[in-house]
Symmetry: D5
Subunit: 157 residues, 10 copies
């Protein structure tokens, strides 16, 4: 690791307050998402400091969690921007590793199909919505994880 | 990298033949998938040596590509099992990197939502189906990438 | 290492309390396991923050260790989920390194035999029970380490 | 990776001949093991260049596979010793990765229980027998992977 | 590095032919760029297998370099897509390292100014044009390297 | 990472004060740059401890931010020199990663064109000015990131 | 580095007390070793948390250093086991690096000679005594570093 | 790994000839060492391209192995110098890993004792003789590995 | 990074006091070097905890900086030995990176010339004096960095 | 390592021819340097593909080595530019490692003295001359390695 970055990259400690308040209120991300009109995955990513809340998001979340909006606004308000990217380069937590394994094992296949269906470009991970759903099945429930991202074609110049 | 592995991990060279035949026949993975009754992402992963074809898959693919089934059966038939995992630990190709970035940025959020919806377990990447679809949208087409994997709960003993 | 993860991945400090109480009571993991009806390896993994205790586990452990159940429940109760994965990518402690060496040296052989016995799939490390036993032998005691995990076949789609 | 090692670490190409002969004879490692009086995991590890066959092993295997014993003896006979350790530091193949995950997630717990049951020492991975068994179960077959290794106490001097 | 990728990631050998023909014709990338109506940096990136040429690009380049268009079309034509990303993770060539150093030293500052000027988003490296110009100056010529990429805002959902 | 460096490489904590004061005054780097006669990117790099402010810079910034010049002068004045280089070797934040991707994908092409236009030398990242501009475009605003660095020829001796 | 390990791997802070007491008493490891009947290298390794002291060792060391035996017993007594392995994967301290260089440069030769002299096995680093001696020589003193470890043969099964 | 080094670092292929001739003559390194008046570890290190043979060494070895001295002299004679350093940064072969583990676990202790016995300096790995001996013992033979290197004091200037 | 090393490798905090006192006295390393009769580079390396001061050095430095000699003697006196090696494996600070680049680009050439001029040996970095001088030149001042180290020949045994 | 780079970064094979011709003519780099009017270190770096020869250099070297100038001109003539940077990130050869150790141990001290003597800037490794000299001394010859590089001040903008 290159030096000197901790000071700037650590997410503000206010995020811990959010987790504590959520646990005390016994709210799920789905509950909060419904209350503020956003998807639960987006809400979770915001709690992990990986998404930027608007002033409005902050106000609504403050209400839901019973927090004072001032300190939230001060620490992660308008002038704060997330430093995205969490955890080690190769994840160790098995839940997250499985996603990584999906990239290792199926990345080339996904790339090939994207190119055949769309051309020489990528699926944006910036303009991308991510959802997690439960699908009932006889042999056991299934997780449905969907990335819906804008197709971006490579420019030529 | 630890030593001595190249000899065992390199996918059989027969796979190159598949790509060449596919290019000459101007077939997409979707075409092949339809012809053999499998999804295009699975077909692509098989071409990249990341899935095990049944004898039946091999025969059907041989017909579609106009290849002799014998050498395919010999090299990647019954007794061959894939060594899965392609490319560098942190992908460099931008299409694949975006998937990796999805893990880095949203991995914790996805993990949190899976736990809240299902409990202490994971989404299997073994019993998992992956599809890529195109969604038309006014502001530009969107890629819909879906992982549907079985939920597995941690055992206690 | 990617940035910003310490805040979320560190196991709650309550786990230290468990170790201290265990040492003061001079209890082994086997003692605790018997008292709460679980295997000692599972108990140890829970103390290291690598397994999720049920509310019932928490209550029983509190009794055995003479701890107040409230703070345990609060910190690692229902809404807490483990971030699994401990220590460096290549272990340095000789006890743990030997396990890693087992993977390096015998991983391919184990994989080959699993495929021959079961087919194209894996041994689950999620639905997996692990035990450590002592086997008396003339030339010196032997450690018997057993992983018993569910076989999962690769899906085709 | 440090330089200059490929020339010395690559396993002799004769091993490929073993795999080819085994595939043609449609023999499993279990078949070969039974024929030569060794466990299938040990046989597989020898095929991967991870164990040293005695002259007698070589002769028996030559018979089973219908190979000339001379070239086997010449290349991996008395004066040849394995360079053990296969594949990348963090395995990418999902079967092998699961074993590695076992080390990451349960390594500390296994270490703790070994110490409590045996004292300050390790389970040898040199004087260690490894077996893979199938256990039938209603909810699906289970893999039973056992390491039985000698306990070695740390010396004091 | 993860295993098994060389076969798929190596750029087709036809690219070497391009470099040889260019050297023999004593053409600069600027010459070729002007002849085919593209910027020299784009042309160079295509020669390094980092951009996808259209059929028309291929035909024009074939004419300029005096090459047969058939083999170019066959190897890197319609069905070929670049695997982008060249060289080691930390570049060693001093020219390229300086660019990397620009990211290390000024990356945070550039990020901060992009956020202040545009909001919570990124400069696309997909829809991005890159040019290199020479600026005469008394104290010595200066290189003007410009990235002009589309601003993409993070989606909320 | 090699040992023992944190003590010397961490930027002085005074830099945090600068960020706090800037946020409270609701000033952008552009505002501060204009007030002290420097470009906003340079100002931002100074706030991140990546550039050395002159005594005059320090005094002007103190005025703009309403800070006492003494402590700034004491901590990052004449005798302080930046330890440049921020964050991990491969950036994880998507904004910064895109710049890194530019090096991975276009580094060789940029190098080739610099050599053709200038000869055997480099673009200096020391005597280099960096600017970020907004370019309005119909299909969406574009970021214009410019590096203007002195060309340095390799010495021969 | 994988996550979450600091809490469990850091040696107890009591070890610092040992170093301080040793420095104040102006005792060498040789002095302490003689006083407690152990070799100086073993004593030093115990001070670095790399060896497990018996209760008797603890009592004797407490006497020699004039420390209270209670806190030593409590922190690193019966129920404590060392997490062995100190410092970075490639040592940076020149004294330690030279040992590492010995492995890099002479490791293969040592391995070859061990195999020729003993067979297919290893020198144990668990049942191993290590000493450092001074040998006077005209051209300058020489360090004599000796590892005496039990030979362990690979098991066959 | 940095680029472009294979061409210069690979040991000349003549070394393979040495190993083959040695195997055919059924000579141990000890045999060769005795015949040419050098220690077996040094001989082995020369065979691995890790030591520079004098012209006289080359001639004697040619005689012992029945090789033509000309090609040996041509390839690794006067003007050839070894590129030392074999294998991966963290060894995977268990024999060599144990030596590495010795550095990880006992490196700090050895360093401390060297300093106490000699002062602020190192044990040279350049002016260093290495031997491997067998020591008979009731509980099993022991390997005695000795490094005898010159002590070098840090200069002051 | 291997575990558990921070406690032992961090340089004593007294070194920070030295830097603070030096800054307050507005002394350069050259000033201090002249006052105590040592070269400025050596003095700087001592301040960074990379060289061992004699008792006399400590006393002189205490006088020059107006510090109490007792605490310096206590923390980094007779019984303290440096843990050398600062910063990341690949330096990020541009000043230090340029030195590293010198090793990457010219290391092989320097090695070749040392061998031709001296034989099979090395330039010691232990018995080595390092100086930095300024050389005036019309086109701009030049830094003259000199390493003068003892030549050490490889031993044969 | 990122993918796809071998094809472009490997130095042309013509360089091997240079080494062979030099060995056959029994010329040192010093001999060649004198014959063509360049320093031996520069000549060696050119042989390793780390410097760009002018057409004149190529002609002179061809004469000295008795080679045909045509193929040299064709392969590494006008349109060829070096990809600089040889060997692994942390060198393993002891001669080169000692230089690297110089950076690790003395890098910060050298940086501090450069800043004090010159200001906020660097010593260029582009406009830098490197020489190796032998200095006779009673206690053994010494290597004098000198880097003389232009000082470059950081720009402000």
């Amino acid at each position: 690791m290159a030096s000197s970055s901790a000071q700037y990259n650590e997410p503000p400690s206010i995020f811990k307050t959010l987790f504590v308040a959520k646990a005390e209120k016994k709210l799920s991300f789905e509950d909060i998402g419904k209350a503020i009109g956003r998807d639960e995955v987006w809400v979770a990513s915001a709690f992990y400091g990986q998404a930027k809340m608007t002033e409005e998001d902050i106000d609504k979340i403050s209400v839901v969690l019973g927090l004072d909006t001032t300190s939230l606004r001060k620490e992660v308000g308008e002038s704060w921007f997330p430093h995205r990217g969490l955890g080690p380069a190769v994840p160790t937590d098995p839940v997250i590793y499985r996603l990584y394994e999906g990239v290792l094992v199926y990345g080339e296949a996904i790339k090939a199909v994207i190119h055949e269906k769309f051309g020489d470009g990528i699926m944006s991970m910036i303009d991308c919505n991510i959802t997690v759903d439960k699908k009932k099945a006889e042999k056991g429930d299934r997780v449905v994880l969907t990335f819906e991202g804008k197709y971006l074609a490579y420019s030529k110049w």
